[in-house]
Subunit: 324 residues, 4 copies
Amino acid sequence: MFQVRTDLAVEARELYSEGENREVPGVEVKIEEEKYYTITRVKILDKIGEKNMGKPTGTYITIEVPNLKNPNEDLKDEISIQLAKEIKAIAKNTKKTKTLIVGLGNWNVTPDALGPKVVKRVLVTRHFFVSYKKEDDEEMANVSALSPGVMGLTGIETGEIIKGVVEKTNPDLVIAIDALASRNMNRISTTIQISDTGINPGSGVGNKRQGLNSEYLGVPVISIGIPTVVDAATMVNDTIDLIIDSMMKEAKFGSEFYEMLVELSKEEKYSLIREVLEPFMPNTIVTPKEIDELIDNLSIVIANGLNIALHPGIDLKDVNRYIK
Amino acid sequence: MFQVRTDLAVEARELYSEGENREVPGVEVKIEEEKYYTITRVKILDKIGEKNMGKPTGTYITIEVPNLKNPNEDLKDEISIQLAKEIKAIAKNTKKTKTLIVGLGNWNVTPDALGPKVVKRVLVTRHFFVSYKKEDDEEMANVSALSPGVMGLTGIETGEIIKGVVEKTNPDLVIAIDALASRNMNRISTTIQISDTGINPGSGVGNKRQGLNSEYLGVPVISIGIPTVVDAATMVNDTIDLIIDSMMKEAKFGSEFYEMLVELSKEEKYSLIREVLEPFMPNTIVTPKEIDELIDNLSIVIANGLNIALHPGIDLKDVNRYIK
Amino acid sequence: MFQVRTDLAVEARELYSEGENREVPGVEVKIEEEKYYTITRVKILDKIGEKNMGKPTGTYITIEVPNLKNPNEDLKDEISIQLAKEIKAIAKNTKKTKTLIVGLGNWNVTPDALGPKVVKRVLVTRHFFVSYKKEDDEEMANVSALSPGVMGLTGIETGEIIKGVVEKTNPDLVIAIDALASRNMNRISTTIQISDTGINPGSGVGNKRQGLNSEYLGVPVISIGIPTVVDAATMVNDTIDLIIDSMMKEAKFGSEFYEMLVELSKEEKYSLIREVLEPFMPNTIVTPKEIDELIDNLSIVIANGLNIALHPGIDLKDVNRYIK
Amino acid sequence: MFQVRTDLAVEARELYSEGENREVPGVEVKIEEEKYYTITRVKILDKIGEKNMGKPTGTYITIEVPNLKNPNEDLKDEISIQLAKEIKAIAKNTKKTKTLIVGLGNWNVTPDALGPKVVKRVLVTRHFFVSYKKEDDEEMANVSALSPGVMGLTGIETGEIIKGVVEKTNPDLVIAIDALASRNMNRISTTIQISDTGINPGSGVGNKRQGLNSEYLGVPVISIGIPTVVDAATMVNDTIDLIIDSMMKEAKFGSEFYEMLVELSKEEKYSLIREVLEPFMPNTIVTPKEIDELIDNLSIVIANGLNIALHPGIDLKDVNRYIK
């Protein structure tokens, strides 16, 4: 089946269900509504779910926070705490867990720099455990962090760098942070996805050919992602749909055009747009003007969430003391 | 008449001429083809030209360099020299001319940072002239440079800062560098526009309400601009046109749809797109992924062009010695 | 009288009083000890005080916070509030006061970038007052902010840029932020000086020839400064003194050497060091390794202090909501 | 024997030879004087040489270029070419050699950022060889590059990251770039040291505990270093020596002081200074004010040198085309 590309399980689900009034087969969904945010828990249960969603079996938790685009400090703190809860629940980490945080993406490309910015801000402690030959501590857990860059900067597949470091440092858990592509401008910088399936080829803003998952790295891999760009073809596609909706309401055209559209399937339309756009705008990104500031804010929310989730002695009261 | 917004005179001309096989009334155009670039000299002659083009009377020179997206050093040097020639011709500066270079735009927003990056790289000398109480010099001209920021950063209209500085330092000439919006993804970072009309309200990537022109500042104002973003609505609009072209060729629809499109005028279509896009993507920019690197390259080309144009003692051979 | 250069009134006082057990004539001093900081209020009362201190008549308030080098969030908040109180007391601003914040220094030189970093972080509002044609507001005051750069970057004397902008925008108050030089490594990034005398020639990390004071700008000028570097000659000088102290205690030498040192006056020693150092290390700075991080922290403390002091509707509870 | 710490073999040699008019035993030295630079080739031949120099057996080439502080383009090109020659001679690389370039140091601390800045600028190609499954090429060699950060940023010993990546990617050669500490302000940013001994514990601006050498990594390791800071204690020490020289010439003191100084050995003096300085200025660096600009320039010189040395198809004419 044709799959419009999206990194978000909630969007894969929307795409499937469009026009079909039932849940995706092989997928379980729970939705929790809070005052300022909505949590959607998508479980892909089996091969049928994998096929329908275009994503591997596992859990995908989405926290959607419309005001995260322009948050006040209280909201940022609330989301960090909620994120910490979800990370803990999915990672099942204890104070003995050794975690390697990996910031994926290219720090020179603003909307791709989310991962490296989070890595810059989390509290790293592994070197103290090594120096003092400690196994665990009441306050802090053993955390290391790395931004491996992208292949264009290093000449090395990102996965190879991570695997090399994992083999040398033997963490129990890898948490990978990545900027995602969304189908919908409204999700840019407002949606956080946490998953226990790691990072899989073709996801993220850039191109990663080797997956970063437990199969490859040999330890559990949690991924945390936030959409920061919309694909140009997607944007045009969605706009055309909106225009057609708008035109239909105004009855600006008759039956022939309607039939043409029905005839032209969703896949054909998207392919046509890609084909038309590609030659004159390869590597184009669609992103909010203030993306630099948004990424800075989001990296603080995620880094705080990670600090609370990983270190037993850090809670909301003092989480901001540890942010860099 | 309805005007699709563009900062480039060559695009305003294309928009006017579309479907009409004649030159824009009130406008004079000369085109010069070189191996690696094309120079278009547009002169808006009178009120009729102003109305047709949506731009004030004056000269607009465009250097289009398709390979400027991925230039080698020789091409960059060649374009710097050509740019220097055009600046000299339009500015009529001598070694006695005191020039203030103004870098417009927001240094925190990558595609808007062209002006500030150029200012960072040009050779400034005014302080030596002041210190040694010299009026002129065989090697260097009196040059100062300023990046005033944008209103969201300072709370002050950019024009007011420039005017305050002009009144204190009395330059003979102001050259303003700005990032522009284009209608066409192909022009991003490949087209340089030089004009003697200064910067006028509503142009550039950000919004400037006060024009920076000779009327306001009291001295001649040359503007140099390079498109770095495409407006999202424009991109959708152009893509739809391409799709329709493509569909028509394949005869995928009949006469009714064609009639609908003919009925739906260009203005209506663009307005419809803006209306549909606005609520869900305000402040969206469409830009190449590698815009950071492109802006760096372009700022060197422009800064070199300015250094050669302004200082009598700098020529191609040593221009790279003065770049910062 | 010979004056060892220092930007801090507390250090000028120490230098004067050294060896003399009495207050500096023409100067009034009050000291307030708090748990985490000490406030010293120095008033230079008259010409005699000016001569003895090498600084103009006026008030110099110093907040010394030894832990500001490695602060937790509570301490940063506490110091921001205290700073806000001092600014309010010295500036006598109301909600109608229009303030221009000026960030002095070179953003390319890390220890000189304090002023520009503060400007980047304060809340600017003037453009809203202009747009809505408001004179005042219950929540916000009219604040603009500018980092004019340094002469080597612009070719323009910093004072000229500020004066030009003051004449165009007519603020009631200018607050200038600057990085200072201290005599003492311990004061680096732990001491904040607030003064109503503005910035005077020769102070700060770089060289400013034109003072930024009420006489020149025509409105009151408050300066806020934090030492970020120690002069190399000063450091050598102080180290030699420490060595001599240490040697004397250990009686490593006899009367002749002691006599030589007594003979060699303080001025002669310092001049000798400068003379010896100058040829082989012009423009050398002595600064902590982690100065980048220190400056970031300090700029938040000052920007928060300014936001609380200037805007009637911002208090501690929500100050962090406005920091950028 | 007491060793004042220096990363430069030429300085270790000076320290040894001071007062002794003969070459260091176990060390061979050749000096080559050119118009704009001097090359010193130090070979530590055996255990005796190691002990006397405080450095492992191997070759240490130093290119001293006094004008590199303020270079024109011709000088930069000349030094890049000379550097390329030395790298080739010491690395014995061919077009088949797979090289991993490692940029050591902390990118957040300006004078420690040399390595990461070089890595940012070199041409990386390994991913093309992997994609096209090529073993070699007439124009390009297989080059990858990585900046591993420092332990305070990652929690991981730098050597472990490099070793992990070496094991995954199997280069034939590692070239490590590092910022060094010098004893002498004049050497800051004017001296390039190339060595075949790799990086050894305790060298560089930061602290690296694990050496990066062929023994640890299993492949030859070339190191390239440039001094960017002077140790504060060293600076004071050297200044005191200069002062004493100056005083002696002016006969400002008699025999007793002279005797005291003779009695106080070099080691004692340096230890005394360290002791006195430590409590009030830990982690202090002494560096030129314009260090940001110097590091930028130097990183271009080194990256150009590496590009010429490693890729068969890059020569002086087009080296600037490949710099980023």
